[in-house]
């Protein structure tokens, strides 16, 4: 846990998670959605960053199954899958795959659709990624 104050540019994100919402910054000058929180737009340098609410929907961009946790709060959760998600709005978030879906079924794959929602992991608020059930023709019974 970091003991220093949350930076002003990050606070709306953390407050959003506590309120059950996923918020992200959007540049009103060049329209670029921002990954992480910033003082100025990554592309155009503008300070006119607005906060918007995300749908929570996204696609898995990268993933890893953790076999060894150093943090005691996570040791009980091992193995757990961390995913990097490209959100529908065009920014990126990290999350943990819903442990139930991880235990019950296979790990998510790159390109899979997920729905993110705020979730407490140990003492800290983060994000949970639930697989979105989509029709997969490969799984359809042969007739």
């Amino acid at each position: 846990m970091h003991s220093f104050a949350t930076p002003l540019c990050v606070k709306p994100f953390v407050d959003g998670l506590k309120a059950g919402e996923i918020r992200y910054q959007f540049c009103s000058r060049c329209q670029l959605p921002q990954s992480l929180s910033r003082y100025r737009c990554l592309a155009c340098g503008s300070k006119s960053l607005q906060w918007k609410q995300s749908t929570g929907l996204g696609e898995v961009e990268a993933l890893t199954d953790i076999g060894r946790a150093s943090d005691p709060a996570f040791q009980a959760l091992v193995p757990y899958a961390i995913v990097l998600v490209c959100m529908r709005e065009g920014f990126r978030l990290m999350a943990i795959q819903d442990p139930e879906s991880r235990t019950r079924g296979p790990m998510l794959r790159i390109g899979d659709g997920v729905m993110l929602s705020p979730r407490l992991w140990g003492q800290r608020i983060g994000l949970l990624a639930k697989p979105i059930e989509v029709f997969d023709p490969r799984e359809a019974p042969l007739s």
């Binding site: 970091h2 949350t6 990050v10 994100f13 953390v14 990954s35 992480l36 929180s37 990554l42 961009e61 990268a62 993933l63 890893t64 199954d65 953790i66 076999g67 060894r68 946790a69 150093s70 943090d71 709060a73 996570f74 959760l77 757990y80 961390i82 990097l84 990126r92 978030l93 990290m94 999350a95 943990i96 790159i110 992991w121 140990g122 800290r124 608020i125 983060g126 994000l127």
Partner: protein, 377 residues
């Protein structure tokens, strides 16, 4: 023109009785012995940070204990790029005529001096505290995420990454100071336990104790020395979540700047010291720097291209993966090895004569990049 005029490594591994500054002093003793300098002749001092000895002013701490009174001294923090970053700055201090003899030193008893989980937790803090750390992340996890994305795009398999671990261990097997010297096979790597998929234990560098000291000087000393022809940096993101592109991490920005200052082409390079915190780090950097086509680093390794006797010797000391990783000193070890090989002072490990070396290091999650070009003279 700045010259690399001396380089020394302590042994790397489990050195239980030595503290961080003991290790730094040992490496510095060796550099003074090689160069014939007295401590009073060191007028510049750059020290790497140590996770196990966080300090407001590490260079002053070391200068006091070692009896140095430099005209310029401070610590530096750029993660894995710190070693190369300090050498770049030392070169600029020489070029600006600020200093004539700059000691670059780093060491840490990161293995024996702290609990493994404490070291892993401290390093994980390179992640964003609000967006990343709440998800139980570790440094291997950041690189594993990167690996999953990169491998899918470049068509790389886990056994390809394993080739690079095997090669680093082969190189370390001949170095008496390396942390791990027993040769391994692709099967050994594939069967080692999973840390953060697709990375397994032998895809990850170890945590080691050790120190490295280098001397950067204004004049050619009339004994083996390398010229620091040029240097460059690239910085495109800090956190994995903020990377701008999964195909361009900033390594090429850094390399282009170093080549421009050096007035040479990548095609002239014939020796490599490339940062290898994980096998995937090495694969991405080799490919991103244009040293192999995308997805081909393992095939090049398999063909012998990067062998000590090959066309393009790579990390001939065994790299972070096998020589060992004691923090900033781990990155300096690539430069110490480059000095030994290009100056032909590597003794029984000497490879055929090489002319021009590229050193490239990254800090964070391919976040901070430093490239250095040295030539034998």
């Amino acid at each position: 023109m700045p010259y690399l005029t001396a380089a020394a490594c302590t042994a790397f591994g489990d050195l239980q009785t030595l503290s961080t500054t003991d290790l730094m002093a040992q490496a510095t003793d060796d550099v003074l012995l090689q160069s014939g300098l007295e401590p009073g002749q060191i007028d510049g001092l750059l020290c790497g940070y140590a996770v196990n000895l966080p300090h407001l002013m590490p260079a002053d701490l070391f200068a006091e204990r070692y009896g140095l009174s430099p005209a310029y001294a401070h610590g530096m923090q750029m993660g894995g790029a710190t070693g190369a970053g300090m050498v770049m700055l030392a070169g600029d201090l020489i070029r600006a005529k600020r200093c004539r003899q700059v000691l670059v030193v780093a060491g840490e008893n990161r293995l024996s001096g702290m609990a493994r989980d404490a070291a892993i937790a401290a390093l994980a803090q390179v992640g964003d505290p609000d967006y990343e750390l709440p998800h139980g992340t570790t440094v291997p996890a950041y690189y594993a995420l990167l690996a999953s994305r990169y491998m899918a795009a470049a068509g790389i398999q886990e056994r390809d990454l394993a080739e690079l671990a095997v090669l680093m261990r082969l190189h370390a097997s001949t170095h008496p100071k390396a942390h791990f010297r027993e040769t391994i096979s692709v099967q050994n790597v594939l069967q080692s336990r999973s840390i953060a998929s697709p990375l397994k234990l032998l895809d990850c560098c170890p945590i080691s104790d050790g120190a490295v000291a280098l001397l950067i000087s204004a004049d050619h000393p009339g004994r083996p020395a390398l010229r620091l022809r040029g240097a460059g940096q690239g910085h495109r993101h800090q956190h994995l979540s903020a990377m701008r592109s999964a195909e361009d991490f900033g390594a090429r920005d850094s390399l282009a700047r170093a080549l421009e200052q050096s007035r040479c082409d990548l095609a002239d390079v014939d020796y490599l010291g490339i940062y290898d915190s994980f096998t995937i780090t090495l694969a991405i950097l080799l490919e991103d720097l244009g040293l192999t086509p995308r997805g081909q680093s393992a095939a090049f390794a398999r063909s012998g291209h990067f062998d000590a006797q090959g066309e393009m010797p790579l990390n001939t000391h065994g790299g972070l993966l096998s020589f060992g990783h004691s923090g900033v000193a781990g990155g300096l070890a690539h430069i110490a090895e480059c000095y030994a090989q290009l100056s032909q002072t590597a003794g029984t490990r000497q490879i055929p004569a090489r002319e021009l070396a590229l050193i490239h290091a990254d800090g964070g999650v391919l976040s901070a990049h430093v490239s250095l070009i040295f030539d034998a003279c």
